[in-house]
């Protein structure tokens, strides 16, 4: 039979009369948990930002016609040299068309697949931006602006104007910010572009694009698919790239293989394109957790230490409690409940501290070229971190209290009473 009222009232008296010690022990937990919450929210927020940097812009599967040499050179087809060792010098890439053959039916086919969120056509072409007698080389990509904004967070990189503006303007162009600066152009101005064929087209600037990579921003512009087709003088089925976004990113590899086989096209999945990115994420997460666990363990040792001292000081109390009829288990529970109370109070304060600090960081200004739409430091407010934090606070205080309290349980009152 355990009488919780009396055990808790003794624990409370012990804690309150040594309020300074209690506060220090609880603060140890508070700082541990608070630092854990702040760190983990900040680090995962940062990780997510860095991941998004790549994931948002990169298609899960990118389909295009690769310019490459034939895998089977003609000599391999000639039977007479079948058993000889052939050396071919100066291999040239095979002449193929840039456009994807039957692009529109392929897009239709892909969009019928349940795992595909969107399959977007693009036309990539080289052009010159013309300013008086100066030609600046660059890339013009024909896109479906609204779909790009929906699936690839295009809007995050449009610093002025919007995807909707580009969609609405027939001869509009979304100009790279670097070109705009070089040519001193503003929204509403017109810019002349010329494809390699030599004709000159005048396009209206509807917005500016900034990816964060200066080299790219100095050459890259976007316009509608139809506008590019018109500039190049090509038909409506002229599509050079298809970007596919999937529901489940882990399907990217198998999907790209399937597409390569079925349509005899080059299909690159995101894992191949960005192999280093996943390694970076894993290692950053590893560091985050290593640091957090260290913090929590240090806090745990703090509690262990203080409870140990408390029990030394309370030897007489323990002896008298046992002599007047409290069992070893009661005494253990008295000290365990002290540890748990310290853990709960310190842990909750730690959660509040973590919340406060991460809200503060969330408001700190953070300007980066790479992500023009991000204004403050990234924070990942995930309720799970708070849950893990409080659970860890309880577990660590439980163990920190368990060992000293087990010692209190085993103390023989006779040795203490006689020892006086």
């Amino acid at each position: 039979m355990i009488n919780w009222t009396i055990i808790l009232s003794i624990a409370r008296t012990h804690l309150l009369t040594k309020i300074k010690q209690t506060a220090i022990a609880a603060l140890g937990v508070t700082f541990g948990i608070g630092a854990y919450i702040t760190l983990v929210c900040f680090m995962t927020g940062l990780n997510k930002m860095l991941d998004d940097l790549i994931l948002n812009q990169t298609p899960h599967v990118h389909i295009y016609n690769e310019i490459e040499p034939s895998k089977k050179q003609p000599i391999a087809l000639y039977d007479e040299f079948k058993n000889s060792f052939n050396v071919v010098h100066s291999i040239r890439p095979k002449l193929t068309q840039k456009k994807i053959h039957n692009a529109l039916p392929i897009i239709d086919y892909l969009e019928r697949n349940d795992n595909v969120r969107g399959a977007l056509p693009q036309i990539k072409t080289q052009i010159f931006y013309i300013s008086g007698s100066i030609d600046i080389g660059g890339n013009l990509t024909g896109i479906s602006p609204l779909d790009e904004a929906k699936f690839f967070n295009m809007s995050d990189y449009i610093v002025e104007g919007s995807a909707q503006d580009l969609h609405n303007t027939d001869n509009g162009i979304l100009l790279g910010i670097g070109i705009a600066e070089k040519m001193s152009l503003d929204i509403g101005d017109r810019i002349q572009v010329s494809p390699i064929s030599g004709e000159v087209f005048s396009l209206k600037i509807v917005g500016f694009y900034q990816s964060g990579i200066a080299d790219l921003d100095a050459i890259q512009s976007f316009t509608n698919v139809k506008t590019v087709q018109r500039i190049l003088g090509e038909a409506e089925n002229y599509i050079t790239d298809i970007n596919v976004k999937l529901h489940d990113i882990s399907q990217a590899v198998s999907m790209s293989k399937e597409i390569e086989q079925k349509f005899k096209l080059k299909a690159i999945d995101i894992n191949t394109a960005n192999a280093q990115f996943e390694t970076g994420t894993t290692i950053r997460n590893l560091i985050t957790y290593a640091v957090s666990i260290t913090l929590l363990i240090v806090a745990g040792f703090g509690i262990y230490n203080i409870l140990n001292m408390l029990i030394y000081e309370k030897m007489n109390d323990i002896a008298i409690l046992k002599a007047t009829g409290f069992s070893g288990k009661d005494v253990q529970l008295i000290f365990m409940s002290q540890a748990i109370i310290i853990g709960v109070v310190g842990g909750i304060l730690g959660l509040l501290m973590g919340l406060g600090l991460s809200l503060l960081i969330d408001r700190l200004p953070f300007a980066t070229e790479a992500l023009p739409t991000i204004k403050t430091y990234p924070i990942n407010h995930n309720p799970w971190f708070y849950f893990i934090g409080i659970v860890f606070a309880l577990i660590s205080t439980f163990f920190a209290g368990f060992l000293p309290s087990r010692r209190a349980k085993k103390i023989d009152p006779v040795t203490i009473i006689r020892g006086q």
């Binding site: 008296t13 008298i320 009829g325 409290f326 006779v414 009473i417």
Partner: protein
């Protein structure tokens, strides 16, 4: 006559640092209402015997009966309960919980027993303090009162569960003669008026002479 306490052939060895036979075949009884004292030279084993009788020390051979029930071999949990309900303990050093008030110290064993409501316990505790003439100290912290007062609080605490027997380990050993006299008369009064059994280990010949019965020990044996 009913025996409150009965010891049968109790033997006890200290194993460290060398094997030492402390208590040699001790058998005796305490009747209800008896006020007995144990006397003997230092080191003759009288305190050791008392801790065995109080059930705190379980490492012995022989049998111990409390209220004619066998206490030997019971679980620690059960022994704690027996101690709580049937034995009141008064030590040489006062052993109060220094962070609690006098009243809380007295109430603690009753709260642990849990047979009465909080109000009843508080009322009982005040009654005991009144009997011992220290009811004015009830709200004071235990660390703020004098030695003689502390010992009386310890007696009040020993009485709170209306035990079958009060055991004392030199309860007057650390007190001046005035307070010693005071504690003795409280014991005497409890014995005479309430019919309480008492067993007190003491060095004090004057104290022992005035009890009902003196049990003398020498070299681990009872000699009278």
């Amino acid at each position: 006559m009913k025996y409150v306490l009965e010891a049968q052939h109790i033997n006890k060895y200290f194993r460290k640092p060398v094997l030492f036979h402390v208590l040699k075949d001790i058998s005796f009884t305490i009747e209800q209402g008896e006020f007995a004292s144990i006397m003997g030279k230092s080191g003759c084993g009288k305190s050791t015997l008392l801790y065995i009788l109080s059930t705190m020390d379980t490492d012995y051979d022989g049998k111990l009966f409390l209220n004619e029930e066998l206490a030997t071999g019971e679980s620690r949990q059960k022994l704690s309960y027996l101690r709580n309900k049937h034995i009141g303990f008064v030590f040489q050093f006062h052993y109060l919980l220094s962070e609690f008030s006098v009243l809380e110290n007295v109430m603690l064993p009753a709260k642990k027993l849990g047979e009465k409501t909080f109000e009843e316990i508080e009322h009982d505790a005040m009654e005991k303090l009144k009997v011992l003439g220290i009811d004015k100290l009830a709200k004071k912290r235990a660390s703020r009162i004098s030695g003689g007062e502390k010992q009386r609080v310890a007696i009040a605490r020993a009485l709170i569960n209306n035990p079958s027997i009060i055991m004392g380990d030199e309860p007057t050993g650390n007190l001046d003669s005035y307070n010693s006299e005071n504690v003795f008369s409280i014991f005497k009064q409890l014995s005479d008026e309430e019919g309480l059994s008492l067993l007190v280990v003491t060095h004090d010949m004057d104290f022992a002479k005035r009890t009902d019965r003196i049990i003398t020990m020498e070299d681990g044996k009872l000699i009278s």
